[in-house]
Symmetry: D2
Subunit: 134 residues, 4 copies
Amino acid sequence: MLTHRYSARVSYSETDQMGFVHHSNYARFYENARWEMFRSMGINYAQIEEDGVLMPVVKMEARFIQALHYDEEYVIETQISKLPQSVLELAYIISTRERGIVHTAKVTLAFINKITQKACRPPVMIVQKLSTNL
Amino acid sequence: MLTHRYSARVSYSETDQMGFVHHSNYARFYENARWEMFRSMGINYAQIEEDGVLMPVVKMEARFIQALHYDEEYVIETQISKLPQSVLELAYIISTRERGIVHTAKVTLAFINKITQKACRPPVMIVQKLSTNL
Amino acid sequence: MLTHRYSARVSYSETDQMGFVHHSNYARFYENARWEMFRSMGINYAQIEEDGVLMPVVKMEARFIQALHYDEEYVIETQISKLPQSVLELAYIISTRERGIVHTAKVTLAFINKITQKACRPPVMIVQKLSTNL
Amino acid sequence: MLTHRYSARVSYSETDQMGFVHHSNYARFYENARWEMFRSMGINYAQIEEDGVLMPVVKMEARFIQALHYDEEYVIETQISKLPQSVLELAYIISTRERGIVHTAKVTLAFINKITQKACRPPVMIVQKLSTNL
């Protein structure tokens, strides 16, 4: 299994009037974490798009276990456990040092041809980098 | 089953450079739809919070079936099929007139005491209004 | 002077932990208001982009006079007082029925050729519609 | 003059369908930069709020000189040139290594008593830290 750990801090604008992170922000957390993971493996997502492949989210599941608060530091661990066939599946565990796991999620990305907007094979570059690291 | 239909239009800021709605926005769509549903039933969420009960999202599942584009009008149907015990479960179907269903989701809300931050019973006002309409 | 009034309600996700609308949301309010204004005049911004012209914001000034709270209804009045030359200038007044003016802003949009990314003339369609209504 | 430099990278969710950062995100960039500046000076904004003082934005001016693109790294320089009396004024310069200055802004924050929601004096902690560093 391929794992990557990425650390970030809650921004003020991510809170809502309940006093903790609004749930709509987590999708952005996963996204930032996976592009950091890709970057760390030498995969350049901007380049992938220029090469004509989009990777939209097609499925998402999230469990909000504990709230995250303004200025809190959290670690988001991204896991990939198998090579992409038609889709790429990622699992996430968000935790803080003091409170352990606060959130988990699964996200599935598809591969879409930018021009035809139809499903396509995963770019060779991604498969190669992932198979080297898995 | 209790259902509510709410119509909205995609804002420019909700798109990303793929040219369609960024997936992180859907959580806000569900949220707007459920407070519109509540409002239509005479439930005032602002009042519920003032009375000391928060309703955070604890679970969320989403399927992105087709993309939504800038300026497109969509209908979001919210469904509640049973009275809340410890949590309230909602289902969503987003569709456009031309393209049918583009997105589905399930969202689970908890009831939390604002002071203790612990789980509490659903406010009587919500249970009454829902049981009248279910 | 051309004016347009547009009514909206504060979403939960727009609040932050201060308990009122986070200041970063106002830019989206202006944007929604101006596309509603354009739509009401028969100008289709999606079409303008397809025709190859982008209209990015190049200048923005905002005064936050009073806070807006969750679920509050507000009116945003958009004003255009002269035809666009190289840029289009818009003024905004946001108010609520109970509390009067809560916010004012000025926003300047440029016209950019989508391919060259260089400044271009305003589309004839916009100039015509605006000159008819001004 | 007190200055602070903070480096960040454009997230995918910050882009819109024009293919660059949506203008509404810059207000969040300034916010993140000023709390990083404060943190670097030993000022804890979360603590300030707990002590009963809010610091809402009351004025904002921005110039969008060049676009920022997905995955680009940018530096945001925050400047404070005088001690706060009733308000705190900050200036921002955003630049990239390759393209120089892409954005400038001025933001004014007020000091508000959390309970009364009225203007109050700046917290002594802020004035002391700023006067040491100015």
